[in-house]
Amino acid sequence: MKWFQIRKKIGKESAKKEIPDGLWIKCTSCDEILYKKEVEKNLMVCSKCNFHFRVNSAFYKKLLLDEGSFTSFDENIQTADPLQFKGYVKKIEAARKESSLSEAVITGEAKIDGRDVEVAIMDFSFIGGSMGSVVGERVRRAIERASKQSLPLLTVNASGGARMHEGIFSLMQMAKTATALNKLKTPYISILTNPTTAGVLASYASLGDILIAEPGALIGFAGPRVIKQTIKKELPDGFQRAEFLLEHGLIDMIVSRKNLKDTIISLLSHLC
């Protein structure tokens, strides 16, 4: 079943089936009704079909970084409205409220299994994890700190692409982040979660020494809808999913959430 069909189906079914608030959730992929506490215990992964529910940056911080080790940087870099794009200021305000975040990425220093690392964790809940000037600059500074202090870099990516409301400035964040990576001589591990697409994938997210995807994650340059409209054909099953990319030799590995930290620790111990 394709992702867009899945979506449609959910829309229809959720109207029919009433799920008591809070206690139960339904798997987006296999429709299984799951006890929420069990899913949470299972790192927001469906115990029946291994579907990885989308989680936020705070979740990854807890999952991957040593407890209490994270120091946030560059929170003071805040969104401007360079094009005075209609509705952008309001959109930013709403996103801040909804996500309790200042922008679509958090960056800083942390420890993983006692080892110092520079991290950038994106958050899809902030305008679809889109990359505007703030995301670009925070990521660039994280790369720069990693380069200067010879620390490994870890990015966790979740993004629909460039932030359209910042127009050409958003496009140039691809150039800013990707060119900055030339100075990084330490290991860079990039985690591609669901979804990592367009401008973020076509810049720093693809440039890791190691590329790890979460199972089932949508990873691609163009959105499936755009491709379908362009070629006027149905897309093959599993198109642009992590497994598809692995098969085509585009990523290094697919790692389940429960093994993610151990995999990173092991890789860093080899590479550092």
């Binding site: 794009f85 691809m174 900055a180 401008g199």
Partner: protein, 318 residues
């Protein structure tokens, strides 16, 4: 048949009347001469009026004009002893991007540029200027050749965007673009980028990294097409004209934003009305920029190039 845009109609009509009058050349009396002079003056005035007040959407139409000169035209008018280089040595030769070496005023340049194709069969061969990963990989390969043999590089950007298709995704479209951006940044020769038509998002940026970024007067450069923006933000492609305005994609606006370094003027009526003159103006700019860049030590050149892109973006630092 020469195609023209709606707003060009008064110019085309006037032009036709002038041509008709000229056809009567044999028995041209004083009256005809005066009329001809009047019409020519009117043509200049109308052109100026129309082209100085184009809306953002009309500028998009200009950038996409079917008669606009393409990379092959600039090569024809500017670069002598042209040798085209084919293929990415990985998968295939992507005809949406032309790469090669040619000589401008005795200086050998590597030239890389999108090619949309003029006639329908050629457009299909060129995939309308929308490259697959192999196109970007070919571009990078040939640009590195420039780096190795100390040949300055000219990139001519004119694409609606990187191709969104199954094969493109299977072969890593995003990866190809990302690698180009990163690796072009450290090629140790002067790189001059000129947006000649449509600067379409990542597909443009993949050959858009350089020491100097210039735009032709009526080209546009954008993170997304106005149609795409309209359909995503306003849920309706009909808002493309408004979106073209909101996105701020014209050469003047991008110069003001310091995203580009300069603007290359176009002949009266736009580059499509006189390919040779358009090429001449582009050629002069390339030579001027090459003079500015050629003696900069290579390490400085690369540092400044990375620094240039690190400065781009607008945020509040509180």
């Amino acid at each position: 048949m020469i195609k023209h845009l709606d707003f060009e109609k008064p110019i085309i009509e006037l032009h036709e009347r002038i041509e008709e009058l000229k056809a009567l050349n044999g028995n041209m009396s004083g009256i005809y001469q005066t009329e001809l002079k009047k019409l020519n003056a009117k043509l200049v005035k109308i052109r100026k009026e129309i082209f100085s007040s184009l809306t953002p959407w009309q500028r998009v139409e200009m950038a996409r004009h079917p008669n606009r000169p393409y990379t092959s035209d600039y090569v024809k008018f500017l670069f002598k002893d042209w040798t085209e280089i084919h293929g990415d040595r990985r998968f295939s030769d992507d005809n949406a991007i032309i790469t090669g070496i040619g000589s401008l005023e005795g200086i050998s340049f590597v030239v890389v540029g999108h090619e949309k194709g003029r006639k329908i069969t050629e457009k299909v061969k060129r995939n309308f200027g929308s490259a697959h990963p192999e196109g970007y990989r070919k571009a990078l390969r040939v640009m590195k050749l420039g780096g190795k043999f100390n040949l300055p590089i000219v990139c001519l950007v004119d694409t609606a965007g990187a191709y969104p298709g199954i094969g493109a995704e299977e072969r890593g479209q995003a990866l190809a673009i990302a690698e180009n951006i990163k690796e072009i940044a450290v090629i140790p020769v002067p790189i001059i980028v000129i947006i000649t038509g449509e600067g379409g998002s990542g597909g443009a940026l993949a050959i858009g990294i350089g020491d100097r970024i210039y735009m032709q007067e009526f080209s546009v450069y954008s993170v997304i097409s106005p149609e795409g923006c309209a359909s995503i933000i306003f849920r309706n492609q009909e808002y493309k004209k408004e979106a073209a305005g909101y996105l701020k994609i014209t050469a003047e606006e991008l110069k003001k934003f310091q995203i580009i370094d300069g603007i290359i003027s176009e002949p009266e009526g736009g580059a499509h009305s006189n390919h040779e003159e358009a090429a001449k103006l582009v050629g002069e700019t390339i030579l001027k920029l090459y003079q500015e860049l050629k003696d900069i030590p290579r390490d400085d050149l690369i540092d400044k190039r990375i620094e240039k892109f690190s400065q781009m973006g607008v945020y509040i630092e509180g």
